[in-house]
Structures are given as C-alpha cells and as structure tokens.
Symmetry: C2
Subunit: 387 residues, 2 copies
C-alpha cells in the first residue's frame, strides 16, 4: 500500500425526501444562491419547483443549459452571473457535468485570470464559493470529490482537475430522482461507476487488499443492480445501491493507497468525447473490455483471475488465461445486455480521426505511467478494436 | 436501505513518516497544544520525542496516564489543564481510549457544567476545541468518527456518546507505530474492528447490499492479516491493512443506511469492562460467537449463510444451519488462534455479578431494539455461555 491522504468532507444526505434539509444546508453560507442545472429535466421531475418552494427566503439567480461534457464557456458565463449577483453558494442540480461545471465556477469567482488556468494549474485555486449538490444520476461520483472535468472546444481539450476546496460541502442523494432517467443514462452511469473502480483495481500496487475488497464490492453492486433498475426503473433498492456506489467509487476509497499508476481508459475516453461529444459512460463501456484484452499478459493475468473469481464469481481453474478471458467476455456481455451501443461505428465514429485522437491522448496524459504503459500506437490499436 | 446522513470529515494522513505533516496540521488551530497520551509507551517508541522535535515553536502542556476505558475524572483533569493553558488544539497520541478521552475534553472546555452531562446529552455540545490524533493501535476507529466511550466509576457506567463536531480534524495513521504492540493488543484490536462490522452486518435492514459488501471486505481483511501481524509484527502490508480497516469499520460506511436496529455485543461488553475493567476487544471476542449461537434461528439463519459464504468462503450447501454453525465455529476458532483468552473465567470473572451486569445492560440500553431483541434474562444466558 502506498502512502496516501484521504479526505472526503462532503456531508451526504441520503434517501427519500432529503431535499427537505435544503434550506438548513444553504443558510450556513448566505442568502444569494446560484441555481445551476442542465437541460431542463429538473422542471419536468418537480425538483425545480421544489427548490423555489423551499428557498422562498433566498435570492436565486440561475445558470441553465449546462451541457454534457461541460465547456469552459459555460463556466465563464456562470462566473459572470455569480459576480453580478454576489453569490454566496452554488446549488448544482443534476449529474456530473452540472456539478463539475459549478466546481470550476466556485473556484473561479475570486480568481483574477481566466478559469481555464485553474484547470491547467489547480494549485492556483485560493478563495472559493462553496457548492452544494442535488444529484439526479448515479454515475460520476462528482458529488463527493473535488474533481472537475471540463472541455475546451477551442483547443479540443477535455481535462480533469482536482480543485482544492471544491468537494461539495453537502450533497443530497435521493434515489427516487433517478426513477425517470432514460435507460441508456442508467446504463452509462453504471458503466462510469464501474470504470472508476476498474481503473484503480487494475494496478500493480502491492498489498492494497482492503481497497481491492471494497472495489470488488462496488463492482458486484453495479452488476447486481443495474439490470434491476433497467427492468424496473422505480426499484428503490436498486436505485439506492447504484447511487451510493457512485459516490463511494470515486471518493478515494478505491484509489487512495494505489496512486503509483495513472488511469488508462479515462484519458482515452476524454479524447473520444472531446472530439465527438459522446456520452462519457458509453465511451468507457466501449473501451474497457478492449483495453482489458489488449493488456492481458503473463504479467497481468493474476489480477484478471482475482477479477474473474471475486467480481464475476467464476470458479477458480487451472487455466488462468481462460478465466481472465471469461471475465473480460462477461464484462463486455454485461454492457451489451444493459443496452449500451458497444462499437464506435454505432455512434457514427469512423477511423478518420483515430490517429489524431491517439496522439492527443499521449500529449495530454503520458500513459507510460499507466498499469500497462501505452504508447500512441497502443492507444490507436485499442481504438481500432472499438470500431 | 434506510435514509441516512454520512459525514466523515477527518483528514487522514496514511503511511510511513506521515508525522512530518504534524506542524503543518496543528498550526491551523493555534500554538497552544495539549499533548494527551496513555501509559508512556510513546516515550519508548520515539513518538514523544519526535512530537517535541517537530513542535519546537509550540507551547505544549501534557495530560499523561489516560487509562484504558478512560474515566470521567481524567476528562475533568484534562479540561482543567486546557483552561489553565488556553489550549487551541488537542493532540491525542495513542489508541481509542486516549482519543475518546480527548474528544470529551475538547467538547467540555467551553461547556459550563460537568463534562459527564455531555455524555448523557451530547446535543449540549456547542463550541469545541479541535482534536488531532496520532494513532498507535488499529482497533476502535475513534480516529475517524465523533464517538467517545467514557466510564464513570462512581456510577459503574460506561457509555458511548456521539459528540457533534468532535470527529478528529486530522489523523496520522502510520502502520509502523503498531509494530511494537503486544500480541494480545493486536488480536484484541482486530476483534474490536470485526465486532464493529458484525454489529452492523447482522441487521434485518432490507437492501443495504453495498454496505454489506464493504463489511464483508473489512472482515476478510482482518481474517487475512491479523494472523500475519501476530506471526510477523513488522509486516507492513498486514499492519497497513489492519490500520485502514480500523478506520473504515466505524466511520459510517458499514452502518449508515442500516440504523434501524441497535448493537448487541457492545452494550453487553460495556458492562463487562465497566465492572471488571477488561480489555474491550477481548470482551467482544468472547461475547460475539456466543451471541451468534444464541440468536441463530430460522429467522436469522439466512444472514449467517451470507456470513459463512462471503466472509469465511464456505461452499454453499443445502443445510443452512450446518453452514451457519460452521461460520460461528470459525469465528470462535479464529479468536482462539489469535491468542485471545476466550472465557470469562480466564479473566478471573465468575458468575457472582452476571445478573447485576445483565440488568445494567438493559438499564443503559434497551436491547428490545436490537437485531434479535434481548431481555435481561437473554443477556444473562449469553454471559453464562461465556464463563
């Protein structure tokens, strides 16, 4: 186990009706609130009206239309609104995109330069405006960490930054809010959760046994409950387990102590969605089993055996590679059964930009420090397997 | 899954040499430090001198001699020292007893009445002096939660209180500090960790699958590594996994969402150690398998089957009770193999006070709200099984 720092200060309000705590939570910070959200589904599912009802003594300004893969332009717009309205606290209602966007807004309000600087150099973050969230999809884990992923379309960059002090102060996690999600978003969300865990599980760190046990538990939770939620969208048990899994998958429990290597599929997927604006979880589901097949070797096979036995419940056998391949097949089949389009072609992506993307991956994140080091050529090979 | 609030704000500095961050951590709070510790082992293992070396620009006063099962008198003494020295921050160096004691000191400094009031009515806690810890044993989890267990010898009470705001601000977890622990303390610590998990695992809550998966992972971690640490006390992998397991077992991950029932073995053990001042983890190890045998029934057997298969890796079989009993036997045998004296008689406890203790258990905590409701007579029966 590597040395690590662990800090997950977000206060979680989990369960049915927890939105009733909203006034209490926000009033610690002040009366001027930025309400930030995405495409307007919160007006259909009633959260929007409920927020206004609960916050009748607050001054609310709005940032609406935060896009999936949130863009730096939207962040800049949000910062302007906050400055004009002396915003004390930001309320993000939505999924990872909305929450990520508000983290950079909160960090950027008191920063003199352009907010994109903070993505490039997160150490510049100083005084911040706090963020509180109401989560509407189980996926990114952004509700319980300080990471934000922001896209800069001018430079075709989609970068991840750990913004100090920008873990949400509180997050309201009501599983019932995910009842009305489109099936593909439920499935892509589960794929996102699983990818966060898998990226940390497959590392060469010695002796981080406890982290791996927690990881296996989160993966089993997704495997058990994503199909249930797809079959019956209002199954509270499934929705609550997926939602809590989302937060625990990326709050440090699976990864701290295993920080010796960087992730593999996320940096590749970030280029895919920077170039093609695809759904992050779909990109990860497509990449993950292909990446697994590509890196399977004598050196990595034992980890795949653990994955096969402890996550997929296959019986131990003498043929380690057979077992590893069964687990990879199971991973791919699971995503297919969840209704995820499992080829880039199905998303309208051909081979024309694969080489450019592969080079961009390595330019933004040198994958020589990954679990299995990857060159631009390796990334290209993996992307070709995804076509 | 029940509704819950989860908040684990303690910043963890985990690994070799993390004490080097001490000055940095404490200087946020001020220069006047109370250094609190137990029986003086910190002078032998070098931590005491290291603290003075690192804090040469601080004003340090001391509270030494905090006893196992810390007493309210020691708390009162600590509060007096803090008031006299205008203490800004308390540095607890030790295990759960020392940390628990300092939490109540921190809560009591600005409280006008007697500190015991706060144990009885934790909602009275208002302004507090923060606590930072350096952990020297993997056991209670006190390093990452706001609970304190304090004994009042005047009333033969040992009570547990959740003191708002008293989760340590930061905890330094260096597994190397546990290399020199006596074997019985390593074993009793592991039993304590396992008991925290088992108390939450065995509940009738529906659908808290993720919590149970995390619980199974922590239990497997203790079962794997406690024997290794006993065999080779300087095995870093074993010590680091046990230490992180200690914190995660009782920071809310296993229990939040399963708060519908109260614990069973802890309330009973608290009377044992209030009456006889025995080691908490030893008392729990003795009680746990007996309690399991006592509550095994048609109604509870399925949970024991999960425990047998997912924690002890027994193959599923048709005879559920056989499987349950195998798991209970394995639990008892595990503690025996760890060198824990597994009968009250071995601790010099006879049957003379069993009835008085059983009544005291129910007087302090009505176990009708436990997983399997227990009367004073039930408690007496369980205690008799432990003789």
């Amino acid at each position: 186990m590597e040395n690590f720092a662990f800090h997950a200060p977000t206060k979680i309000y989990f369960g049915k009706g927890q939105i009733e705590n909203l006034e209490n939570i926000l009033s610690k910070y002040g009366k001027n609130v930025l309400l930030a959200y995405g495409g307007g589904s919160i007006k259909k599912n009633g959260i929007y009206n409920k927020v206004y009802e609960l916050l009748k003594d607050f001054n609310i300004c709005e940032l609406e239309g935060i896009e999936p893969n949130p863009r730096i332009g939207t962040v800049r717009k949000g910062i302007e609104i906050c400055k004009q309205n002396n915003v004390d606290v930001i309320l993000a209602v939505g999924g990872g995109s909305t929450i990520d966007c508000t983290k950079l807004i909160g960090a950027g309000i008191h920063y003199d330069g352009d907010a994109w600087d903070l993505v490039k150099e997160p150490s510049k973050v100083d005084k911040v405006v706090p963020v509180v969230t109401i989560l509407t999809i189980a996926a990114t884990g952004s509700e319980m960490n300080q990471t934000a992923v922001i896209t800069n379309p001018e430079t075709n960059e989609k970068l991840s930054a750990r913004l100090k002090g920008m873990a949400p102060r509180a997050s309201i996690l009501d599983p019932e809010y995910t009842y009305t999600l489109p099936a593909i978003q439920t499935a892509a969300g589960a794929a996102d959760i699983m990818s966060h865990v898998i990226e940390n599980y497959f590392k060469s760190t010695e002796g981080a046994y406890l982290q791996d046990k927690i990881s296996e538990g989160i993966l089993q939770t997704c495997i058990k409950y994503c199909p249930v939620a797809l079959q019956n969208p209002t199954d509270y048990e499934a929705r609550s387990n997926l939602m809590w899994a989302s937060s625990l998958a990326l709050n440090g429990l699976c990864g701290r102590g295993k920080d010796n290597e960087i992730w593999s599929c996320h940096p590749i997927e970030h280029e895919l969605s920077a170039f093609y604006d695809i759904t992050h979880g779909v990109g990860l589901a497509i990449l993950t089993p292909r990446w697994m097949r590509y890196i399977l070797s004598e050196k990595t096979v034992d980890k795949f055996v653990d994955y096969a036995v402890n996550v997929w419940n296959f019986d131990k056998s003498d043929d380690k590679f057979e077992l590893a391949n069964k687990a990879i097949d199971a991973t791919e089949k699971f995503f297919i059964n969840c209704g995820i389009p499992m080829n880039l072609g199905k998303l309208g992506i051909d081979d024309s930009l694969l080489e450019k993307m592969s080079n961009a991956v390595i330019a933004h994140r040198d994958l020589k420090d990954a679990y299995v080091p990857l060159s631009a050529e390796d990334v290209l090979n993996i992307l070709k397997m995804c076509l």
